[in-house]
Amino acid sequence: MSRGRVTSHDRYGDCVVGSLVETDPATLARRRLIALWARPHTVWGWFATVDHKEIGVRYLVTAFSFLVIGGVEALLVRLQLAQPEAHVLTPEQYDQMFTMHGVTMIFWYAAPILSGFANYLIPLFTGARDMAYPRLNAFTYWSFLASGLFLYASPFVGQAPHAGWFAYVPYTLKEYSPGLNMDFFALALLFLTISTTAGAINFITTILRLRPPGMAVSRMPLFFYSTLTISGSIIFSLPPLTAALVFLELDRQWGTHFYDTSHGGSAMLWQQLFWFFGHPWVYIIFLPATGMISMLLPVFARRPIVAYTWVAFATVLTGVVGFGVWVHHMFATGMTQMAMSVFSAASMTISIFSAVQVFAWVATLWQGRPVLTASMLFALGFLAVFVIGGLNGIVTAVIPVDWQLTDSYFVVAHLHYVLVGANVLPVFAAFYYWLPKMTGRLLDERLGKWSFWVIFIGFNLTFFPMQILGLLGMPRRIYTYPAVTGWGQLNLLETVGAFVLTIGIALSLWNFFRSLRHGAAAGKNPWNADSMEWETESPPAVYGSERIPVIATRHPLWDDFDEEYDPDDDRVFDEGRVTVVTSALDGVPTSVAKMPDDTMTPFLMAAAMTVLFTALLLKAMGVALAAVVGCLIVAAVWLWPEEERRVRV
């Protein structure tokens, strides 16, 4: 059957089909699909959409904006520290600045940007029409945005959080921090927790049940393993954070004594709960990035990844063992020798799993014929930086060394090597790799390579000297330092490096905006890649791929396949908003699931929750109660069974 020649394609409107009669079945099927899945082109439609691609793009844009905001805060911190005895910021402003930098980057940039990729890509990888719970997905985005705006309301009343991103009690109790600063912190994070948990549940269900027929777990893209792992981690690691934050708010606003040692409480309780959450979180913002590397690095090495099974297992085990290492953040707090040895050993074990992944990537490069695209450069840069970050991580897992280095600039260097290395660089690699799929335009390779080198040099200029400063004894989070310490020169170098880094990022941003106008058309599969998202148009049509695909191998687009073979159009599913559900392990089709329509309920739910958290901040309990009732009403409307949507074509 001929598919017809589609000359141009509008995401929301109709197909424009050249010289074809309207009776062509393929064209009609496509038009029916568009009528089914496109949202109305109105303000209502903008707020009500549940399309995973639109939500994914919004996630990426919002999270990237947080990266820029957090970056500006970091620059101000660096300016303050560039010279001894500087007074660019006041001490209070400085505290707020480094806290907001850390909180923004760790919570509102690093995890959400990966959610953005996962949102956009997972249904395309599987050929499913959307995520498993499209409305929950929309809610996840709106509540992420709302919690971010909630947090950023705090600087405007001059009361931004100011106790570091891990907010140790007793500094954060009312006695020492009487303002609303830490209430903003606690409530914004609680709000974000809801969003993140909902997202994790959605990813797990999508990956387990919406894979295409034939995609058994042994054929899943490696990105699925990492997203699955971290989603599981999220489900079990966010509750301790929730508990810790609830206790903090109760202590601060309602006079309880969880952390108050004078009334039988314990300041260490915060640390235990926070780090029991905190360390899995490190893997949550790192594993999906390695998953993306495991997808794009083999494409540019022109061969399948080496040791697929080992990489998959290492990913899952990192997530599991990640729960057993939280105490290594607290070696300096005093505990038994035995406890310290166990956690020190666990911390070193976890580096084995990371090493497995690194060796698999290196072997893939070794065995392949690497093509040095801009995306590949970022991936290689990630490898280099990540190895350094890993090595100085092992150093801090050794307890005597940790005692020497804790709370010094060495730790700041370590965490930036790991987080920038394992999150920002892979994210840029992924941008250069997948943005052409999202925009339909290729980015400029030369500019991309320039951007990489400037970022890479700027990054090392900024953070390498921090290790030396740490060894020299410079503590973290100090407002300023006297000239006699001799730290001035290295600090100046770091500040210069931070600005170089900024220029590198700006180059990529400029590259992106330029590509929207001047970029070459990407076509379906510009990189000759192996996974299913490259089978769709660039940018993909609203409905994703026309047919729900059938998968026979791990690299569907590299191996011989006959995707077009569907003589009776059994796999088009253009009768309603539906998608195919398969079994969790083998990918055997089990049923056809009805998908929801576009709706305002997710947005309204996030709005009602914003009211709730604002009311809790101001202790307006009447308003809070009304907001809870509002949430319940929205939930009732949300869950009410909806009428079947009819095709209009």
Binding site: L250, G264, S266
Partner: protein
């Protein structure tokens, strides 16, 4: 729903962890005076009954008797409301000797029990909502998804109360 319950269960696990951690670091007797058992055990009986009734209701629904299922859900809701009334009575008695702001024990005790109460109220709302849903009427095919999810959640909340009774009410008596 299973995943939602898993994350909620972890939350309660963390609350129990906090309880034991605070006990571990406390000096002096913990708690100063163990809570009274009678009401808590009656409440446990109420919830256990409600779980059995709800399970019977679910089985009736599967067997194709939506009317009986509705009845069972209604009875469960009534029992749940009864639990909440008992909880208020328990609090009124308990608050005379201990408040959330007395000490860390009071803080964690009331946090755990009131979190449970809130979850129970949430479960009640779910069950009421199931009663309102059009699908639980005649002419619909089992199984009923919403009923199943709501009852899973209800059983979970009941199981948490069992743990609370065991750890917060009974255990301090055993120590003596």
């Amino acid at each position: 729903m299973v995943m939602f319950i898993a994350t909620e269960a972890t939350l309660f696990l963390m609350l129990f962890f906090a309880y034991y951690y605070l006990r571990h670091v406390s000096r002096g007797p913990w708690p100063a005076e163990p809570p009274k058992l009678t009401l808590a055990l009656i409440m446990l009986g109420v919830l256990a009954t409600s779980s059995v009734v709800l399970h019977a209701g679910e089985r009736a629904e599967r067997a194709g008797h939506p009317g009986r299922a509705r009845g069972a859900v209604a009875v469960t809701v009534a029992l749940g409301l009864g639990f909440l009334v008992l909880q208020v009575l328990e609090y009124r008695d308990h608050l005379r000797t201990l408040t959330p702001t007395t000490d860390a024990y009071g803080s964690i005790f009331y946090t755990i029990t009131s979190f449970h109460g809130a979850h129970l109220a949430f479960g009640l709302l779910m069950l009421l909502y199931v009663l309102l849903l059009p699908e639980l009427g005649p002419g619909r095919k089992p199984p009923h998804r919403a009923l199943h999810n709501a009852s899973l959640y209800w059983h979970f909340v009941d199981a948490v109360w069992l743990l609370i009774v065991a750890l917060l009410y009974v255990a301090p008596h055993v120590k003596r």
